[in-house]
Structure formats: structure tokens, C-alpha cells
């Protein structure tokens, strides 16, 4: 009997491993090898919150998105549904970019400036910004920059930033938007999340409900195998991966641009979670979530527990 | 005195309009009986509650006090057994042509086939002299023409009891006479019962077999009398009705002078 799975991803280069799995039929391939039959339905969401709702209502099995939605739902469900991470997809840096030449560092922001980011206070960018503020401006000043932030989707933020006709003069984005923005001569980087966290950190993750994972251990193995293969493929054939991705997403970026994104020295394609604990600890400390842990393995099913995460 | 059961029995009926601010008594303890085949006229000054009485008989208003029965059964809701011709000009369905307005009533109320209904409708539309306008919509008619359509509709329905509220008021002398004659002719044929409101005493005597005289607002019964067909008696009756209805005003006028 076929196992029906519903998987979701969002827009962006961060979901490249999933795109490859879909486009290359890796799930079916590994399922066949394991003697299973898998029917996969791929869904697209525009944000983590809709995805979480779909997951909670049993309309979705594997969700993929940024780390905060996963951490939030993890913190909320440990007493009931037990939603946890399945695997990381990639570690990528987030850049705070501005077009204002006056702004060199965080302390240069003032009332007249506006920083666009996906969701004030709750998105990974907003949290990273707070952590950056704590680190660069000093203890207890983590919320100082919140007053300058504005929630806005990446495309709109980029248009506003580069369109230059609004008061938005900074954008805490994500790849590929930040890379495209950096091409503009007025743009420069103010903060790099890797600096804030002290090294690479996971950007996109896959998560699921305990019920599904525990009922389909074989499928989880198939999924992990497919994920491993696609990541290996990305590392081995970045050009080919770029081509497949461009085609699947009908991206307007050139092949070179996509390859550059994939092979960016800061980007790491790995299923191993990196530097999630600082996020969890920080979010728990400022009260964004009610749970805390000192072991990153608490955040994940045993799919990746063999790895050396953090 | 009258062994026969009345078709419509109105017993001590008080009709009131209630609005949040006001309580208006339109008629006060009005009683009368209408028998099968009567041409019963309601006559009274403007605002004395004639239309209100008709609406109550039509089943649109429940009396505050008293009782109205039709064939022994209490009147509780409107129905096609009591076909109404209203005083208002907007009683035609604007989305139907003249012919359809009449035919639709027949189809709805009598479950006639469309064909049959249209034939009958055309017949009555012709009777009121509107054949040329059979396919016009009501908004293209003059006031008097609209009222004639309503009359045609009422007559075409051949109801047990036809309630007509000043149907001929908007008609010129000749058309009015024609309509009166049509009504009487139809009555001769089918002997239906009609409850007719009018302002014209002459019309009351001509059309009616029995006449109810109402006092000014709120309407109470002043008299209920028989009509006549004899011209000399009619003249006398007319004078009498005139005096009865306007006695009060006459006195007042005298007092004023």
C-alpha cells in the first residue's frame, strides 16, 4: 500500500534540496529501493504560520521553513502533538543591508531609519536583530532597534529599498534577495547573522508531527536517504542543481547568479542543525517561547540525532 | 330577521395602528354583515378608516378588539378568495406587462394554465379598454390606466368576494361609467359579492345594494341602509345620505358663522 505524504516548501534557494527531491523523483527512487510505495504531494506556502496550521490540522506531514516557526511550534506542542524537527536543509547567513551611506554599524540607526523584515518581533530576522543589538549595543538593549523595524515581505521590502521612494532604507533579508540587493551600488552590509551567532547557523529546516514520524519509520528513512542524496548532489554538481532549480522555479536569475548563490562560501548544505540552541535559549529568555532546552537533540526526532549538531 | 348566515360578519371591530410613538385608532367597534351576492358599499369621509377596514377584511390586519369571520371562519391571513383592488397606484407588479399582471394573478391564485390565464387576461384587459397597452409595462401607463389594470385583474379573478378601494377615483366620467356598467354586468352574470369603497354618493347608490355610512375619524357606523334602483328614490336617498354624513359639519359651519 502506498504511503501518502504531503510535503510543503516555500520560495527561495534555501529549499533547494527539497526541489531536487521533487524534480529528480528521489523519494520514489529510495522508496522503491526499500520496497515501499510513496505518493508525494508537494505544496507551496508563503509563510511558516500557514504551514503550521496545516500541520496541526493534519493536512500536512512535512513542513519546511525558517527556524522560528519550527521552534515556536516545538515549544508549544511538547505536551501534546510533539512537533519536532526532522532535519536541517541548509545553513545560510542573513544580511542586514542598507542603502544609506551614513549607516555603518547598528548604533547608527535612529528614528529616521526604517528596517524592513518579514515579521516584526517574531521572524528569524527580527530575533537575529535583537540578538545583534544585545551583542553590539550591550546587555539589556536587545529591543532598542525594534522601534525602527517594519514588517514587510522580502520582495516588497527589496522593491521599497531599491525603489528608493519610501522611507525604507534597510532590509534584513535572506538569500537570494540580499544577494540581489548587494548588486546595487548603494547597498552595503551592516550586520551578518554569522557574526552575531559566531558562525554558521541553520536557516531552513524540515519538521513534522510525532504521530506521523512514529507511524512511518520506513518512510522517514526513505526521506532522509533522499535528502542526503540531494545534498550530496548539490555539493557535487552545483551547476546542474542550479539549472534544475532555475527551471523548476522559473527564476529570472541567470545561471551564474544561481550557481554563485549555491556555492557561496558562507552557505553550507547539510542536514545537521547548526547553532539552533542560541536561538532557543534567546527566545526562551525574552519570553517568545515558554520552553527551553540545553540539548539540541530535544528539538529533533532521532532522524539526525547521530550528527554533531548544536 | 335574517335567517341566512352572512358571508362576512364584522363584529365590534376596532382597528388600530401602532407605531413606537403613536397609537392611532382607525375604526372603533364597527359591526356589519355582508351577505352572499351583496354589493356592499363603504362610504365615509377621507381618513375615516375605509381602507383600513378593507385591509382587515383582506386579512392584512388583525383587529385589536372584535372579530371578523368569513363563512363562519375567523379571518387570519390574506388569500385569493378575497381579491383586492387597492387605492394605491403602485399595486401592479412593475416587472410584468399589463397582460402578464392579470394573467399572473390567475396563475398564482387559481393555478390556471398559462395559456388559459393569458386568454382570460386579454379578455378583461379588453373590457377595461387597454388592449392596445396589453404588452406595456406599468410604468408606461397613466394613473387611470394603472387603476383599470387593477380592476381588470380583480374582475378576472372572479373571487368569492371582491374588495375594491376607490377603484374608479382616477377615472374620467365616461370611463368611470363604463367601468361601473362592466362591474354590474359581471355581477349580473356571476352574482359575486363585492365590498366597495367610494367617495361618490351617486356611485354608491348606483353600484351598491347596501350602503354602510361611517363617521369621521375614527370611523364608527352611522347607518347601514339599502340602496335603490328607482331614480326618484335614488335622489331622495342621495339627499338623505348627504345629510347624514355631513350633518355634523353643517352644524359646525353654522356655529362658525
Amino acid at each position: 500500500e502506498a504511503i501518502k505524504v504531503r510535503l510543503a516548501k516555500q520560495f527561495g534557494i534555501g529549499y533547494l534540496p527539497l526541489t531536487l527531491i521533487e524534480e529528480q523523483g528521489l523519494l520514489q527512487k529510495h522508496a522503491a529501493a526499500a520496497g515501499l510505495e510513496v505518493e508525494a504531494e508537494w505544496l507551496r506556502f508563503t509563510g511558516g504560520s500557514g504551514m503550521n496550521e496545516a500541520l496541526l490540522s493534519g493536512n500536512l506531514d512535512l513542513a519546511a521553513g525558517g527556524t522560528p516557526p519550527m521552534l515556536t511550534i516545538w515549544a508549544r506542542t511538547q505536551n501534546n502533538l510533539r512537533v519536532k524537527g526532522v532535519a536541517a536543509l541548509a545553513s545560510m547567513p542573513l544580511h542586514l543591508i542598507t542603502t544609506d551611506p551614513e549607516i555603518k554599524e547598528l548604533s547608527d540607526f535612529d528614528r529616521s531609519d526604517k528596517i524592513a523584515l518579514p515579521a516584526v518581533k517574531t521572524s528569524i530576522q527580527a530575533i537575529t536583530l535583537q540578538m545583534a543589538a544585545e551583542k553590539y549595543l550591550g546587555e539589556g538593549r536587545h529591543a532598542d532597534l525594534d522601534a525602527f523595524t517594519v514588517s514587510m515581505g522580502h520582495p516588497d521590502a527589496q522593491l521599497a529599498l531599491l525603489g528608493g521612494q519610501s522611507e525604507i532604507n534597510a532590509h534584513f533579508g535572506s538569500p537570494p534577495f540580499q544577494n540581489l540587493e548587494m548588486k546595487d551600488e548603494r547597498a552595503h552590509k551592516v550586520v551578518d547573522s554569522y557574526d552575531v551567532l559566531g558562525g554558521p547557523h541553520t536557516f531552513t529546516v524540515v519538521w513534522s508531527r510525532a504521530e506521523f514520524v512514529e507511524e512511518n519509520p520506513e518512510f522517514m528513512k526513505v526521506f532522509m536517504a533522499a535528502l542526503d542524496e540531494s545534498i550530496a548532489f548539490i555539493q557535487a554538481n552545483p551547476e546542474e542543481a542550479a539549472r534544475i532549480w532555475s527551471e523548476a522555479e522559473s527564476s529570472p536569475m541567470t545561471q551564474e547568479e544561481v550557481v554563485a548563490l549555491i556555492t557561496d562560501e558562507q552557505t553550507r548544505w547539510t542536514t545537521t542543525p547548526e547553532r539552533l540552541l542560541p536561538y532557543v535559549n534567546y527566545m526562551a529568555r525574552v519570553g517568545l517561547i515558554q520552553q527551553d532546552t540545553s540539548d539540541w537533540r530535544d528539538l529533533f526526532f532521532d532522524t539526525v540525532s547521530g550528527a554533531e549538531g548544536s | 330577521m335574517q335567517p341566512q348566515e352572512p358571508l362576512l360578519a364584522v363584529k365590534g371591530v376596532t382597528l388600530q395602528y401602532k407605531t413606537p410613538q403613536h397609537l392611532i385608532t382607525a375604526t372603533y367597534r364597527v359591526s356589519f354583515d355582508v351577505h352572499q351576492g351583496d354589493r356592499f358599499i363603504l362610504l365615509g369621509p377621507s381618513g375615516c378608516g375605509k381602507s383600513t377596514l378593507q385591509k382587515a377584511v383582506g386579512g392584512y390586519m388583525a383587529p385589536t378588539e372584535g372579530e371578523m369571520t368569513l363563512k363562519g371562519r375567523r379571518i387570519t391571513e390574506p388569500g385569493p378568495d378575497r381579491m383586492m383592488v387597492f387605492q394605491e397606484f403602485d399595486q401592479l407588479l412593475p416587472w410584468k406587462t399589463v397582460k402578464q399582471n392579470v394573467a399572473f394573478a390567475l396563475q398564482s391564485a387559481k393555478r390556471m394554465s398559462q395559456r388559459e390565464a393569458e386568454e382570460k387576461a386579454l379578455h378583461y384587459v379588453d373590457k377595461v379598454g387597454l388592449s392596445k397597452f396589453a404588452d406595456s409595462h406599468p410604468h408606461m401607463l397613466s394613473g387611470g390606466m394603472k387603476q383599470r389594470v387593477a380592476i381588470a385583474r380583480g374582475m378576472a379573478m372572479e373571487p368569492d368576494i371582491l374588495l375594491m378601494d376607490e377603484p374608479f377615483a382616477a377615472l374620467d366620467a365616461l370611463t368611470r361609467r363604463k367601468m361601473q356598467d362592466e362591474l354590474l354586468k359581471l355581477w349580473e352574470e356571476t352574482r359575486f359579492t363585492v365590498l366597495f369603497v367610494t367617495h361618490s354618493i351617486a356611485e354608491a347608490i348606483k353600484i351598491g345594494s347596501r350602503i354602510l355610512l361611517l363617521s369621521p375619524h375614527p370611523g364608527r357606523v352611522k347607518a347601514e341602509i339599502n340602496s335603490t334602483t328607482d331614480p326618484k328614490e335614488a335622489a331622495e336617498l342621495e339627499r338623505y345620505i348627504h345629510e347624514t354624513l355631513f350633518a355634523h359639519e353643517k352644524q359646525e359651519e353654522l356655529e362658525h358663522v
Partner: protein, 300 residues
């Protein structure tokens, strides 16, 4: 009461056999006492609209509570009691009232401007044929456009913040009100229009003194729809348009709590919208209706 005092047989017609009846004392009037039929207690209660509505609300809350309990999925659909608890908490700590107040301020501004714009458009439409065509064309073109379509223009013209929000609100309010008002104006009886013109009323005078009162039921419906859609749009727009932190309204309150998966809080935010809707309907719109439409007897 009056009494038959004389019987004279005047007529000799077909039904002439019947005795005639004469009441002499009618003019004198006498005291008019009316004996009314009493209503049963149930009917008296049932006649009270506030009670009926309360009953409906209680039943709805009951259904919510029961459904929430059977579903038993607090992260998706909390029970009524959990929502009410969250509502009370956030009312107590002031966050919800603050957010609601921010939204209401913006909303009322946008609503007022929308009404004004609708008035202008409809006035033009009534004044000339090209105005009618303009209104019809604009409405059919712009009314279906979602708020995101306006984002670029809003950013260029008004920048971030409330001005843009108001712009979007105006967009969601204007067309619905204009459509209803215009169709209301067109439906005003020909005679009333002639009467107004007969008084020498023209232009603005004609519109305010004749058309608006005559088309009031339609306009009020437009206002109700506009009000509702203003809320919808505002809540959605706070997400699309961005909110500077610290100044968020109800939409933001809902969105933020949703992001933190604090679902009872999300529902508390929605409950606020519902409550405001109920209050406005029953205090504002009902009162207007009672003072106008009902008193004028134009709705039955």
C-alpha cells in the same frame, strides 16, 4: 356604545328586505375604551429583540464551546472559555484595548474618507452621464483589486504607516458605499425627484435634501458593508503593509500571536472584532435605523 334607534326601509332593491340600521349617537363619541387581547409571557419575551439576540449569542457561544471541546485541539481552535480567558487577560493587561484603539482610529479615518469619496463619486454620477460611466467603470475595475495591488502606489504616495493603511481602507470602503448609494439614488421614486426639482433644488441641495434621505436604506446597507470590509481589510492590510513595531493594531496583535502560536490570544483578537461589530451594529446602526427608516415607514 351606540345603539340602533330607528329603522326605516328606504330601498326596495334586491336585498331590500334587510332592515336598516341607524346609530344616532355616533357624533357624540363617548369614551372610547378598547379591550386588548393579552399576550402570553413567552410572547412578551419573544417580542423583545435584545432578548432574542442574546439568546442567539448564547447559543452560538455554546456551540463554539462544545465544538472546541470535542475537537480538543487548542492550537488550532481553542474553546470559547479559553478564548474568553485570553480575552480577559489581555484586556486586563491593556494590550488588547491598546491594539483595538490603534485600529479603530485608523479605521474611522479611512471610513470617513471613504464615505466622503463615495459621496463625491456618486454626486458626479448623478449629475452627468459621463459621471455615471466613470463611476461604473471605476467600480468594475478597481473594486475587485486586492489591497496588495495598491501597495506600490501607496508606498510612493504615502510612505509607510497609517496613511497607506488609510489609503487601502478607503479603497475597500468607497466602492461598496458608492455602488449602494448610486443604486439607491436611481431607485428613488420619480415623483419624489420631481418634487425636489420643483422646489428649485439642484446639485448638492438636491442630493442632500432629497436623494440621500430617500435612498437612506440603501445607503445604510452600503455603510454596513463598507464598515465590515474596512475591518477585514484593515486586519489583512496590517500584515501586507507592514507595521512599525510598537504601533500595531488588532491585525498586528492577531498576526503576532499567531506567529507565536498563542492561538487563544489570536481568537481573543478576533473576538474583539466580533464584539466591536456587535456593538456598532446594535448601538450605532440600529439607532440610526430606528430614528430614520423606521420612523419614516420606508421599510416594512
Amino acid at each position: 356604545m351606540s345603539e340602533a334607534v330607528a329603522r326605516i326601509d328606504f330601498g326596495h332593491g334586491a336585498t331590500g328586505r334587510r332592515p336598516e340600521i341607524f346609530n344616532k349617537d355616533v357624533e357624540l363619541g363617548g369614551e372610547m375604551t378598547v379591550v386588548e387581547q393579552k399576550l402570553s409571557t413567552f410572547e412578551t419575551l419573544y417580542r423583545e429583540p435584545a432578548l432574542r439576540k442574546l439568546l442567539i449569542l448564547v447559543v452560538l457561544a455554546g456551540i463554539w464551546e462544545i465544538y472546541g471541546r470535542t475537537l480538543n485541539n487548542d492550537l488550532l481552535f481553542p474553546t470559547f472559555s479559553a478564548t474568553a480567558g485570553a480575552f480577559l487577560t489581555s484586556v486586563m493587561n491593556g494590550t488588547l484595548p491598546a491594539a483595538a484603539w490603534v485600529s479603530i482610529k485608523v479605521l474611522l479615518t479611512g471610513y470617513a474618507i471613504g464615505i466622503g469619496l463615495a459621496a463625491v463619486l456618486t454626486a458626479l454620477a448623478i449629475a452627468s452621464r459621463i459621471g455615471t460611466d466613470f463611476l461604473e467603470t471605476m467600480t468594475s475595475m478597481f473594486n475587485p483589486l486586492p489591497a496588495i495591488a495598491l501597495l506600490p502606489l501607496a508606498l510612493i504616495w504615502f510612505g509607510l504607516g497609517n496613511a497607506s493603511l488609510i489609503f487601502v481602507l478607503v479603497h475597500s470602503v468607497t466602492w461598496a458605499i458608492a455602488l449602494n448609494t448610486h443604486s439607491g439614488f436611481l431607485g428613488v421614486s420619480k415623483t419624489l425627484k420631481m418634487v425636489g426639482r420643483n422646489y428649485g433644488l439642484k446639485g448638492v441641495g438636491f442630493i442632500t435634501k432629497i436623494l440621500i434621505p430617500a435612498a437612506f436604506p440603501s445607503i445604510l446597507t452600503g455603510l454596513k458593508i463598507g464598515w465590515a470590509f474596512a475591518w477585514r481589510t484593515l486586519i489583512a492590510a496590517e500584515l501586507v503593509f507592514g507595521v512599525s513595531s510598537g504601533s500595531g493594531g488588532l491585525g498586528w496583535f492577531i498576526f503576532e500571536n499567531k506567529n507565536m502560536l498563542d492561538i487563544p490570544m489570536v481568537f481573543a483578537g478576533l473576538l474583539t472584532v466580533i464584539l466591536i461589530g456587535l456593538v456598532v451594529e446594535n448601538l450605532v446602526f440600529r439607532t440610526i435605523e430606528r430614528r430614520t427608516i423606521q420612523r419614516w415607514g420606508v421599510q416594512h
